[in-house]
Symmetry: none
Subunit: 140 residues, 4 copies
Amino acid sequence: MLTLKRLDENDAQILIDGAAAKAREIGVPMCIAVTDEGGNLVAFRRMDGGKVTSITIAIDKSYTASAAKKATHEYGEISQPGAPAYGIASAIGGRLMVVGGGLPVAAGGEVVGGIGVSSGTPAQDREVAQAGLDAFLAQL
Amino acid sequence: MLTLKRLDENDAQILIDGAAAKAREIGVPMCIAVTDEGGNLVAFRRMDGGKVTSITIAIDKSYTASAAKKATHEYGEISQPGAPAYGIASAIGGRLMVVGGGLPVAAGGEVVGGIGVSSGTPAQDREVAQAGLDAFLAQL
Amino acid sequence: MLTLKRLDENDAQILIDGAAAKAREIGVPMCIAVTDEGGNLVAFRRMDGGKVTSITIAIDKSYTASAAKKATHEYGEISQPGAPAYGIASAIGGRLMVVGGGLPVAAGGEVVGGIGVSSGTPAQDREVAQAGLDAFLAQL
Amino acid sequence: MLTLKRLDENDAQILIDGAAAKAREIGVPMCIAVTDEGGNLVAFRRMDGGKVTSITIAIDKSYTASAAKKATHEYGEISQPGAPAYGIASAIGGRLMVVGGGLPVAAGGEVVGGIGVSSGTPAQDREVAQAGLDAFLAQL
């Protein structure tokens, strides 16, 4: 039997609130998703003006980051033409996201979930996801 | 050109908070989803202990209620064997939900969104969704 | 943060071996799947002669039982025409299984995974899943 | 009428055991799938620590290798921009995998199945899949 840690409902709100605060600061309304360490959705918020396409993209960025334990922008690097993971972007019915904005959430050296952000540029999405992660880590 | 009303990010939180309060009162952790009048997800919360299968079911109950402007338990009645909408449960890749727990959210006679709840019995899901709706209507 | 228990790789083999032994005893080659408490696949075996359609059915029975914390035959009862969960069978893209043969796996009062069996009659599938569960519980 | 050879349940376990031994040796827990010559799943194992995203990826690598009778890393080469199979990575709903780690399993000049591995780098995945294949060939 394995014993493992997983972020809870309250942690998810801290992650989303932290991300949303940054999104407001940079003036880009975002879709923000939080998944547990098994890739299953815990919480989601579409800020007013967040894109409809970004609903699924944010959820899938979070899914990828938590379930693969890797930031989506790292997949972006290793999946370029000629790179080792080229072609992975369409795996799992297209759920495996290689665009920046998905980050694993770790605590005590263990991945306990993920956060995914979408609606801005990938750089903005990543900045906002990082702000959510920072808010979570600051209160651990 | 159409002008329409749609629940916003803040309304979605009021709906979810109202539903979650009732879920805690009856002791059943729930998945709670809110969609806009186009059926697109605005907010989601999986309470600690909410079922993983209920993530999709709650979202799809809310999708059905808002996009079809009809409570899912009403679809349950008209989709029984021999009834006019028999077979509709598997429509839209199974997204059209006919199990209770999805309610349209109306304001001023207009559907502006929906709420979907899953993890308890259909009666519990419906009670919790109604509590979310009541909390929303109380502050209009 | 939540702390939870999950069956491991070795537990999954015990479950499958126990089920396969019963399948051989009754002379029905089976597809046998084991998922973790989040519904994600841990192990699968198609015995020689197991049905190809049963690959997905066994996996989805295990997914349903573990992620909804309910045996699939219980869903069969509450989803009959006129019953409260009528229509749930096509939820989650048809992954929610209401045919017997999926059982949650619990240890210490906590669901830690699931087992799903398919290729025989639902009664045979359920008997074989139960044998897997019994083998697991016997060695706890 | 065709007469064909297909790996059996026991062969699948030899392939998985051989791959898992190499995965332990290199210290990377893997998802390992074995399919028959029709691309249908025969056996699967997620080692403790194997990635959740890799469940589907391992199964689809094996599916691709067995059903197309071609190693997935070979598809990686011919699907680069400008190459003849460019764009094939998203075929079959994204199931056609072009990332290394999927190998056809042949016996007597005939493809009888496939093995797919995921959770490490593509090079590690390929090495582990090859170890499974070697274990199978060694006992023929």
